[in-house]
Subunit: 204 residues, 2 copies
DNA sequence: GTATGATTTAACCATTCAGTTAAACTATCA
DNA sequence: TGATAGTTTAACTGAATGGTTAAATCATAC
């Protein structure tokens, strides 16, 4: 019984993810989720008692992706430039696989900040570690002087924002030319790394 | 007779903006808007017949801010580096005055992309102009070679994203230390300009 | 074959919410 | 004074929606 994972439950989770991600908690309709999962409302409630519970299931799942084992990269003891490059690669990799995450998080963030920030705390990464490391590199003259917090925000912005604003980017720049869009997003990692290195690394 | 602007209507618009901006179209409640405006639901419908109409009024207003007279800067014939710097200054200025805009747009974008993209079209700025100018500067060896579209996305990302993700930034980095947050956001323009110049300008 | 759990059907309940209505009240203007 | 626009109060309608329920059906295992 249920050798892999219960197929219906997975269908529900998949459908719920799609609907919640595009419509948000408020906009999502249980009926729509049921339809998309190819079942009926009764069965949907049979699996997940309430909309609230279903949402939390999805939400937790997504957060796990959003703040991934990148902590490990951050905590590692490699050089800062190397570390930034690995961070960008790892983060872009996650985003390419789950491009809807930024949009979803932005939406739910203002709706209910408290539960969200609680979630973040659980992953409790300490940015101070990176900030200190950046400052040391500056003192050694490896990279230019700048507020480490601004540097971090710059890097993360360039990684995340294009996914949050994907519809605008794809419409304004690419007129919905799908293959070109795909290509563009695949190039992001390389471009960002190059851009950051150019901006901060001091050549001897 | 309404010498300035009808005070009640303005109270409504102000209240509606606040509610729509934090809750989104779906999450917003007419009752809440009425309460926040210090009036009752009946009067609210007396001024704006429906939630739709009220939302559209707010939406149009906000879009006007979001895509401001920056077009003029883009179309001007100053040098590209200068132009980027002026763009960043102007854009950050708008964002500092209306910091809620990015979050709002992100939310409503996935809910109803069509009406939104229609709005954008109206402002019909042609990014191709800037792209061409960037390429010319590259050919003259003023700035390094890179896909102009990536450059544009990088700059805009660094400008906009911190506002869209403001709650996270202020929580993770600043632990809600308001004055520090304010200071940080005021520094953004200078930091971004410096960062971009470092990244792309070729020193002779 | 029968028991059990999964699934459907379809009706239903309770609540929330946008929007309406009518009546009364207030202030202002003419 | 009386007309008029703005405003309140309070009750209501109607639709959408989350959630429940009971009975019927289907599949599978025992």
């Amino acid at each position: 019984m249920e050798t892999k994972k219960d197929s219906t439950e997975e269908k529900i989770l998949e459908a719920a993810k799609n609907v919640f991600v595009t419509k948000g908690m408020d906009g999502a309709r249980m009926q729509e989720i049921a339809d998309e999962a190819g079942i009926n409302k009764a069965l949907l409630h049979y699996y997940f008692r309430s909309k609230e519970r279903l949402f939390e299931a999805i939400f937790g799942e997504i957060i796990k992706y959003a703040f991934p084992k990148i902590s490990r990269i951050i905590a590692s003891d490699m050089g800062i430039v190397n570390k930034i490059e690995q961070f960008v690669d790892a983060y872009l990799d996650v985003l390419m696989k789950h491009p809807f995450i930024p949009g979803f998080i932005m939406k739910e963030l203002s709706r209910d900040p408290s539960t969200f920030l609680k979630m973040i705390m659980k992953f409790g990464f300490n940015p101070q570690i990176v900030f200190t490391q950046i400052e040391e590199a500056m003192n050694r003259g490896e990279i230019i002087r700048m507020d480490p917090r601004h540097l971090a925000v710059n890097v993360i912005s360039m990684c995340v924002f294009p996914f949050a604003a994907r519809p605008i980017v794809s419409f304004v720049i690419f007129k919905e030319d799908q293959p070109a869009i795909e290509k563009f997003y695949h190039e992001r990692a390389t471009v960002i790394k190059q851009f950051v290195v150019n901006a901060i690394v001091i050549k001897p």
